[in-house]
């Protein structure tokens, strides 16, 4: 059996997800028994345009990135996004909440014209995406699980339920009961409720579930005395690209 050819690419991102792939140290050699990495700029000099699976990290933030992305789509049999930036726009999309001229001005001042930028978009806003691996950064175990599923010809299991399920499995105190507020009830599980388990709260890095109960969650945040502004600020960290899903609800309240 010839090995499956795998390539990694990145757009606007921190490259933390690719780093997390390299961080699968204990599994890396087993994975390499089944796949051949043919393109991974962060770690290797060789490069090839002949690959079966393309993993893409990062959001699209410049028009000039689009032809490169379309080329990757043409070459790849399966295209998979890696992490929040490519799957849901991630933190890059925070800037979508501001006037883009103002954003360029704030960072680059009178040099701003050198720097092209458009609204930050997830990959599936530009080309078809076959699977999404969520998380900021991706979860190593989940990456390994999904890649094994694909190699076995199985549809990878990607949860569509809130983080609360996994948080309860961890025997955690509810974050709300500790006087903080949490996006767990809206956010897609799969991380093993990592942040609440580490004593923090869920910031929503895996994006919302397909049909988030924003209305019911809003009632709860209000009960905990959060102002609309506070709520928006929380939501904007990772949910910015999907702001339509919550904005109407907030404006109506």
């Amino acid at each position: 059996m010839s090995k499956v050819r795998v390539a990694f690419f990145d757009f606007a991102c921190c490259e933390g997800c690719q780093l997390n792939v390299l961080n699968c140290e204990d599994k890396l050699l087993d994975i390499l028994n089944n796949i051949e990495i043919v393109n991974f700029r962060e770690a290797m000099s060789e490069a090839s345009d002949n690959y079966d699976i393309a993993f893409i990290e990062g959001s699209i933030t410049r028009e000039c990135d689009i032809p490169r992305l379309k080329k990757i789509r043409e070459n790849a049999k399966i295209l998979i996004t890696l992490g929040s930036c490519s799957s849901i726009g991630g933190v890059n999309a925070i800037k979508n909440n501001f006037d883009l001229e103002d954003v360029r001005n704030e960072v680059y001042g009178n040099q701003k014209d050198y720097f092209e930028t458009t609204l930050a978009r997830p990959i599936d806003a530009v080309v078809k995406v076959d699977y999404k691996i969520y998380g900021c950064p991706i979860h190593r175990e989940e990456f390994v699980r999904i890649i094994t599923s694909l190699l076995a010809g199985q549809q990878p299991y990607i949860p569509n339920h809130p983080v609360c399920v996994e948080c309860k499995l961890k025997d955690n105190f509810c974050v709300f009961d500790k006087g903080m507020t949490c996006l767990g009830p809206l956010t897609r599980a799969g991380c093993g409720a990592r942040c609440p388990s580490e004593g923090n709260y869920c910031v929503g890095c895996r994006g919302m579930v397909d049909e988030p109960e924003v209305n019911a969650h809003f009632d709860i945040l209000k009960k905990y005395n959060l102002s609309i502004d506070d709520i928006k600020n929380k939501f904007e960290i990772y949910y910015s690209y999907y702001r339509k899903k919550f904005e109407n609800i907030y404006n109506a309240r």
Partner: protein, 429 residues
């Protein structure tokens, strides 16, 4: 010898982020010799405006995956500085230990995965699996251990979770610290083997005098905080960081360049080891001797060796920190911090040099203005000047050899281009 030469390396590999090397020589005259930064800009300073002090470190951590712990700490330090908050001793020990985890992880990745293939004549680490399996497996073990520290202390290897302004949301258990200590002790063998391997690798010979900038401390090798020290014999407080990072714009780069007293500055492992050699622990000093490293060293290729010396230092220092932590009360974390209006600066030695975060907050703890200066930016002018000095000396070599040497030079700096493209031009008044 009069020669024409045109080198253009697009999307330089085995570095973090996107950069191009451009060299253009006509009749032996250098028309162009530079590192272009082509990474997509991401605008973090603009995005964090209006966000709460609690969320800012979370967001700025996402500037860079490799130095996410460093960004988190620079950010937290700036927040705590702005609120006049002093973290307790347990917090400081844990932060230093976690920062060691990142330094070990990043340096190991760099010397083994990114730099070593050049010396072992391979295009990447993957072919080495067949030719040098022991080397690759050792590299993976060492990286795993470094990541294990980050996992246990920070809750995750990339983008830590349990770190927050004021302290930690969760403490590691004593059992996990003991387990960590045991693993680190076992890891010493791999450390020694690594020193032995790198001793055999021949670094290209090249020297150019420059100005090294690092943190300054009197009683320990500084990583987490301190004032700023120049190899030109002066120091400034961290609030005056602009004096050693005078930024200026060059046309070919989306990232800004920096200088201090001389034409350019260098930060990172080489700068730190040069400036603070006496503060290294004895094991690291011994490794330096074995690796034939003597301060002050002006060969940028030796940055790889300086990184290895720091690996030795951080490894042993982690064991020391764990011993101190085992005497602390680790039952429940506390993190009382009260926001107030003010400005703060965080300066942390991350793998590639000093990382500065500078924030202004309003009285509710909402961010008004942010400025971040990334080590790679500080090194960019130095890289350009090094290339310009190196090229004339190696013009007699083949184009391939020249290209490889230039690539190795840039890689020696371990540039983190994702970080550097946040660029800014903020004036604080």
């Amino acid at each position: 010898m009069m020669k024409d030469l045109n080198i253009s390396v697009k999307h330089l590999t085995r570095v973090e982020g996107h950069g191009n090397i451009e060299v253009d020589i006509k009749n032996g005259e250098i028309l162009k010799c530079q590192l272009d930064i082509v990474e997509a800009p991401r605008f973090f300073e603009a995005m964090v405006r209006g966000k709460s002090y609690f969320e800012v470190p979370h967001i700025t951590s996402r500037i860079c995956g490799i130095c996410s712990i460093g960004h988190t700490f620079a950010s937290i330090q700036a927040v705590e500085d702005a609120f006049d908050f002093k973290p307790d001793e347990t917090t400081m020990l844990l932060r230093k230990l976690l920062l060691h985890g990142e330094t070990l992880q990043s340096h190991t990745l760099h010397i083994y995965f990114l730099a070593a293939p050049d010396f072992l004549k391979a295009p990447s680490v993957f072919p080495l699996l067949n030719t040098h399996p022991d080397v690759v497996k050792r590299a993976l073990r060492m990286k795993w251990l470094a990541n294990y520290i980050c996992d246990k202390i920070g809750g995750r290897t990339v983008h830590p979770i349990s770190t927050r302004p004021g302290g930690f949301t969760k403490y590691p258990t004593k059992e996990s610290l003991l387990d960590l200590k045991e693993k680190l002790t076992k890891g010493i063998e791999d450390l020694n083997e690594t020193v032995k391997l790198f001793k055999t690798l021949k670094m290209p010979e090249f020297e150019r005098k420059t100005e090294f900038i690092s943190l300054k401390s009197v009683n320990e090798y500084p990583f987490y905080d301190g004032d700023l020290l120049s190899s030109e014999g002066y120091s400034v407080s961290k609030k005056e960081y602009r004096k050693v990072t005078n930024e200026f714009i060059v046309k070919h780069s989306t990232a800004k360049h920096c200088k201090a007293k001389l034409d350019s500055i260098m930060v990172g492992a080489l700068a730190r080891v040069n400036n603070n050699f006496n503060l290294l622990n004895k094991e690291a000093k011994a490794a330096a001797t074995e690796l034939n490293f003597k301060p002050i060293c002006y060969n940028p290729f030796m940055n790889n060796i300086a990184q290895l010396i720091e690996i030795v230092h951080a490894h042993y220092d982690s064991i020391r920190l764990i011993d101190l932590l085992l005497d602390c009360d680790l039952s429940t974390p506390s993190y009382d911090i009260t926001p107030k209006a003010g400005e703060g600066v965080g300066a942390v030695e991350v793998p590639r040099g000093i990382l500065y975060h500078n924030y202004i907050f309003d009285e509710k703890g909402k961010l008004v203005k942010a400025n971040c200066i990334i080590p790679t930016n500080q090194n960019l002018e130095n890289i350009d000047l090094d290339m310009k000095a190196l090229v004339p000396k190696i013009l007699d070599k083949s184009k391939e050899e020249i290209t490889l040497l230039l690539e190795m030079l840039v890689r020696a700096y371990d540039p983190c281009i994702s970080c550097s493209t946040h660029l800014l031009n903020v004036s604080f008044k």
